[in-house]
């Protein structure tokens, strides 16, 4: 039987050098908001065009306006206050502003379509015109709960916090569907992060994550994928594959060895094959990517495969990240040929 082969980005894409310059100028009061909006529009359009040229089936605007993965949430959810303090984003050399939990976290009624404010709409219109799926990556409930400064739930009610974030996502999915999204990826680096506490090291936390997803995201209105990265997912992969509401599990193969999961049964789930290193500038050849993906598919027997970077590409300069998109695009056709 033919297997579906797709390609997509894993989240926030780097800004172009022109956007970097303009945003720096804006920050130093040497450029206007109109100048900045205009350069972001050009940047987003170029990125969507590149994904279309590279045969990506799920296309995003690179989430170029997102200052960090949590920012739209910390700026808009009820119960959260946008933080001023910068914290290191995992073991990268980038930083995020840690939100503070003031009270019960929920989706605001008035601003329920807040994602709209972080979209580059003229860029996403190009995707719509081309008839491809509009995609977005958002932080998953466990990662959200791990990265906030919790002044409300405290340790004993951590499960409740994870559940409340899952509930926010459940409601948000309806809004995203209304905004035309056809693919939503939950980014969950905290589940498997190789350093420090994670669901790998704390069974109780894994249990609360599983329960939160089962209770809130069992039948999502949009296909949901879950991408694990910055750590080895092998110890918890089978538990993730049991989640009914998740149709695709993404694996960061720079951290998880294929050997360690070769006995895992993917069943009806698709594989997000994150073999393209999102944190190194060495651009993989299409042949190398294809070879890795074919091996992964033959080993794990998933229902489909999506080729994507191991993590967001925002850790790379734009020129390199774009090269990685092109390489993934070429790899898709090789994989299709070899598997079908």
């Amino acid at each position: 039987m033919a297997i579906n082969v797709d390609a997509t980005l894993a989240g926030i894409h780097p800004r172009s050098e022109e956007t970097v310059k303009m945003s720096r100028d804006f920050d130093r009061l040497r450029a206007t908001k109109e100048d900045l909006d205009s350069i972001f529009e050009t940047d987003g359009k170029n990125l969507v065009k590149l994904q279309l040229e590279s045969d990506f089936s799920r296309v995003s605007d690179g989430q170029l306006l997102w200052q960090d993965l949590l920012r739209p949430f910390s700026e808009n959810l009820d119960g959260l206050q946008g933080g001023a303090d910068l914290f290191r984003w995992f073991d990268t050399n980038t930083f995020f502003r840690k939100p503070y939990v003031l009270k019960h976290v929920k989706l605001p009624k008035k601003e329920s379509s807040f994602i709209l404010n972080y979209e580059i709409q003229p860029a996403l219109s190009l995707a719509k015109e081309a008839g491809v799926k509009k995609k977005i990556a958002i932080p998953g409930p466990y990662t959200l709960s791990s990265l906030v400064d919790d002044g409300h739930y405290k340790k004993s009610r951590r499960g409740e916090l994870v559940n409340d974030f899952a509930n926010v996502i459940r409601k948000l999915l309806k809004n995203l569907a209304a905004l035309g999204y056809e693919s939503v990826q939950l980014n969950e680096p905290s589940l498997v992060y190789r350093y420090g506490t994670s669901a790998l090291t704390n069974k109780k936390e894994l249990k609360s994550f599983i329960a939160a997803v089962e209770d809130n995201l069992d039948s999502p209105p949009i296909p949901l994928s879950l991408h694990t990265y910055f750590g080895d997912c092998s110890p918890i992969l089978e538990r993730l594959l049991d989640l009914d509401g998740i149709s695709e599990i993404g694996i960061d193969f720079t951290q998880t060895s294929l050997d360690s999961i070769e006995k895992v049964d993917f069943g009806d789930k698709a594989l997000g094959c994150g073999c393209v290193d999102g944190r190194n500038s060495l651009v993989e050849t299409p042949e190398w990517i294809a070879e890795y993906c074919v091996d992964a598919v033959r080993t794990l027997d998933p229902s489909g495969v999506v080729i994507l970077p191991s993590s967001e590409l925002k850790y790379l300069p734009r020129m390199v990240a774009d090269e990685k998109i092109r390489a993934i695009g070429k790899a898709v056709s090789i994989v299709k040929r070899r598997l079908n």
Partner: protein, 414 residues
């Protein structure tokens, strides 16, 4: 050991100082010197007693009228004066160990890799909000092509009588902040035909990169400095403990030992900040030639007065080093160098986004550390990190408070 036995609690600088506006604009072909830039140079030249600063004012005045880009000679003169200004600032407040405030350098990473063969700067990477940094990749074997810091060192040495302590960006940080193309390619080639474990490949490539960087580029650099009279080198390693596991920490220790091994007559110190000191302490005893760890503590401390542990939570981390058996010296960070949020305690005041430590707060921080270490001879006193994010007025006030606080501590200890 402190490296300077003549004085209890010697004072030292630790990193970069903000480049004055006339320094930034004066060497930029597209910028124009303004009246306020000239006033700034006059004000600080006069206040710090910089020798012959009028020469700088003349050049800046000329630049403010000119529409053609500055000549190389003008750029050099402006850059050199910025070093003299920093040295005068340090000497004025009474620092014993000084350097250039890194006025000659673009920035601690870029300056180094631009001058080592094998690196290629690839472009901008997001740091946060609308802030970015330039990141490079190693694309061939690293190679020393010419001394990188020698000219700067010689200039500083000829303009001060204080102990000169040269900061050099450390191998672990350079590798952690660079992409690894060359060694990753080699490692993947080695694995050809077999299923590849990218995590193992990555680490092997990282080890090969760091060891070659030390051997082929950083050791020759250190050697050239020592041959020309350098007797204190500070190895800056802010990236250490970013990846907190034993394999990575061993890599750091191995690289530092490979870098410092066999050089006589030079003190080596390591600067690290905003880090996991429990983990660093575990490996501090493995750093065979390191005489001092210069660390940030003020950032994690309270601003209340007092020498009991309830008032000095930031300095309690020193005990990790004691528990591990580390016997070397400390560069004790006593000044917070970033924006301060919250309400200060009785030992500090707020000016804008700056916290200004009082001399008494500095004193209490030193006295607590002395008590914990049981030996004040092991302590040198410095800011947490470079003060480059503070304006000169704030920097001056902070360093002055540091010097006065150390004097108060000396009086108590002697």
């Amino acid at each position: 050991m402190s490296g300077d036995k003549s004085k209890l609690l010697p004072l030292q600088e630790i990193g970069s100082i903000a480049k004055p506006p006339w320094r930034v604009k004066g060497v930029n072909n597209d910028s124009r010197i303004s009246e306020s830039d000239i006033e700034n140079a006059e004000l600080w030249g006069e206040r710090l007693g910089v020798k012959e600063y009028q020469k700088l004012i003349d050049v800046l005045s000329h630049r403010s009228q000119s529409t053609i880009p500055p000549t190389d000679e003008e750029k050099e003169l402006i850059r050199d004066y910025s070093v003299e200004y920093v040295l005068s600032l340090f000497e004025n407040v009474g620092l014993d160990r000084v350097y250039s405030g890194e006025q000659w350098r673009v920035e601690m990473y870029e300056h180094l890799v631009r001058n080592i063969k094998g690196f290629k700067l690839l472009g901008s990477v997001h740091s946060f909000d609308y802030k970015y940094f330039t990141k490079g990749a190693i694309v061939e074997q690293p190679e020393f092509i010419h001394p990188i810091h020698l000219e700067e060192f010689q200039f500083v040495k000829s303009h001060t009588k204080r102990v000169v302590k040269i900061p050099v960006t450390g191998p672990y940080t350079v590798v952690d902040w660079s992409f690894n193309e060359f060694y990753e390619t080699a490692a993947r080639k080695k694995a050809k035909g077999r299923r590849i474990d990218l995590r193992r490949t990555y680490f092997e490539a990282r080890r090969n990169f760091i060891m070659d960087l030390v051997k082929n580029a950083l050791r020759p650099e250190v050697e050239s400095l020592i041959k020309n009279g350098a007797n204190w080198i500070q190895i800056d390693e802010p990236a250490v403990t970013t990846r907190p596991d034993d394999e990575e920490m061993q890599l750091f220790a191995d690289a530092i030992n490979a870098l410092t091994h066999g050089f006589n007559g030079c003190v080596f110190s390591v600067h690290n900040c905003y880090s996991d000191y429990k983990l660093l302490a575990k490996y501090s005893v493995e750093l065979k030639d390191i005489s001092q760890l210069a660390l940030e503590f003020a950032n994690r401390d309270s601003t209340d007065l007092g020498t009991d542990k309830e008032f000095r939570p930031g300095y309690a981390d020193l005990k990790h080093f004691e528990n591990e058996g580390y016997e070397g010296g400390f560069g004790l960070g006593v000044l917070h160098v970033h924006d301060f949020s919250g309400k200060p305690g009785k030992g500090a005041t707020i000016e804008g986004r700056n916290v200004l430590e009082s001399p008494k707060l500095v004193r209490d921080r030193i006295l607590f550390a002395s008590k914990l270490l049981k030996n004040p001879d092991r302590i040198s006193v410095n800011p947490d990190c470079g003060l480059r994010t503070r304006d000169w007025e704030t920097t001056f006030k902070k360093l002055k408070a540091m010097a006065e606080g150390a004097e108060l501590a000396r009086a108590k200890l002697s």
